[in-house]
Subunit: 328 residues, 2 copies
């Protein structure tokens, strides 16, 4: 089986570029609709942060630390390092009696334009609080305090990461073939795309038990605080707002995108083979329209898929299109 053609770029009436990939729509029983190879093995990267946050909630660590929905949204976030994120994670660490040096995510410049400009023009380097994963790592530190683990909480054998691995394998229903080290230094376990989709379906239609309540709480936190999950500008925030809270959406590096649709009890997972963000954003947008949770004429659909592509003088130069057969 081959990957599917998903997203095309056209210029002057000719197809200039093409993105292939794989996508699934699942309910809790399995795949209900697929394009390409549901069995392809993927690293979910940041798209599985809500899975990585399950042990934080299930263990009681979140309640013991008095975490709110805002903290849980940040634990699931790939934020753009705006002040709202940096300040919130700093406050979270302070409440734990910890600080930025306790993080193990590393530093990178924030994508938020205002904060980026403040650092660039003030000759200040970014801190680990700016790392898009700093909320996930604050969650790891919260769980770690609860588990009384050692400081190197990103080691694959550390109790925090072993708890994450167990949750990951349980919700995907698979033994992971292995892990890679993520941009933020945490291990990232691989699974089939269908396994990732099934996990998202479980978040959409959770069981009535400790895990199910943790899933519901994390999904509700994401939907209530899209600005914390990504920030002003990124696709996750725009798509969650555009769907009026009917969807929790999360991107991951190398063009993974997942969506949780509680009203339909559906989970979506896709990976663009070449890792292109533009194609992952266009493809998840097309799937949300396909599944009826995003109107075709919504500005978000224009932004990520249907608006003409324009050059530096504003002249339309081409367009993105869904490939024939995707999604319908």
């Amino acid at each position: 089986m081959r990957s599917a053609e998903l997203i095309e770029l056209w210029r002057g009436g000719q197809r200039e570029s093409l993105h292939c990939g794989d996508a699934v729509v699942c309910d809790t029983k399995g795949v209900v609709e697929a394009w390409g190879r549901p069995g392809t093995i993927v690293f979910p990267r940041s798209s599985c942060k809500m899975i990585q946050a399950l042990p934080l909630v299930e263990s009681g660590a979140a309640d013991a630390a008095g975490l709110t929905d805002r903290h849980l949204a940040l634990a699931c976030a790939s934020h753009n390092g705006a002040r709202i994120h940096v300040d919130a994670v700093e406050g979270w660490l302070r409440a734990l009696g910890m600080a930025e040096p306790d993080l193990r995510c590393g530093c990178h410049m924030p994508r938020d334009p205002d904060e980026n400009r403040r650092l660039t023009c003030g000759d200040e380097g970014p801190s680990q609080l700016h790392n898009n994963c700093s909320g996930k790592h604050a969650g790891f530190l919260t769980l770690n305090r609860h588990l009384r683990g050692g400081a190197e909480y990103v080691d694959p054998g550390h109790s925090v990461q072993q708890a994450v691995k167990a949750a990951f394998e349980e919700v995907t229903g698979e033994n992971s073939p292995g892990f890679g080290i993520d941009g933020c230094s945490a291990p990232n376990w691989s699974c089939s795309l269908a396994g990732l989709g099934r996990a998202m379906a479980a978040f959409a239609d959770p069981p009535d038990d400790t895990r199910g309540r943790a899933m519901r709480r994390l999904v509700d936190a994401m939907r209530a605080h899209p600005e914390l999950v990504a920030g002003e500008g990124p696709a996750c925030t725009i798509l969650m707002r555009a769907t009026g809270g009917r969807v929790a959406a999360k991107t991951g590096a190398e063009a993974v995108f997942v969506a949780i649709l509680p009203n339909q009890g559906l989970g979506v997972a896709l990976k663009v083979t070449d890792g292109a963000t533009r194609a992952a954003e266009a493809a998840i947008t097309a799937l949300l329209v396909h599944l009826g949770v995003l109107g075709e004429s919504d500005p978000a659909v224009g932004r990520f898929l249907t608006d003409p592509l324009r050059n530096w003088r504003g002249i339309p130069t081409g367009e993105m299109r869904t490939a024939p057969g995707f999604p319908a």
Copy 2:
């Protein structure tokens, strides 16, 4: 026929992403080595700037305006908008009795870090001189003065663009299926990848006539001034320097890359299907090693292909690899 697998990204011992595409090595008689589909139709985008500069030289316009090799390198450039480029194009226009508003390329922020920071922190917007194509447009304006054409020199029917089209079809040996509007507003004519490769071979092994002398002059200008063709940082400059002037290399948007090898009389052209720059840079690097003009242990090969990929803490997280069968 299908595109070929060109470049892979691996993480944790698993293939995470894959870039497919097409590539050819040509001499003036045609394709001598190919991966994927030599007949695939591509927009060369900025990779064909040396073709777009042919009428400037052949017509006598360049000599009439007293252009030097530095000007010709800029005419073939996709520069990063550093002061060296901005100042040179500004001086070129001034010598023509023209100025920035005569350009039709539009404004975008420069990629050169110093100039980008200067504008960002000084609250100054970029000018059209910063546009990576400003040198090509200064060349168009120089030709236009010679041809006594109208001000809207980027119109597809304008005598400047018709001269470019004629040269493009002659050196590719094809009737172009059509044009798209490029990021800089100039028409960009499409051709087969083999046609683009043959054109590059002609630049590598030019005939002894007016066209051939123009080709030689443009290739020599590019090789003599790699810092003007791209700037400090971009792949074109690094690869031209690494090959010790044995290669003129030029990238184009949506992951086109060409190379001219005068010593071998060979031309190279490739297009990564998905438009990813990282893959185009890795693939052209692999081909230059394959063709013996770049040493396997050269730092440029590490930078664009073989160095481990590292995360924000400097930890190796994966690597790029050439796909089996590419290039050998």
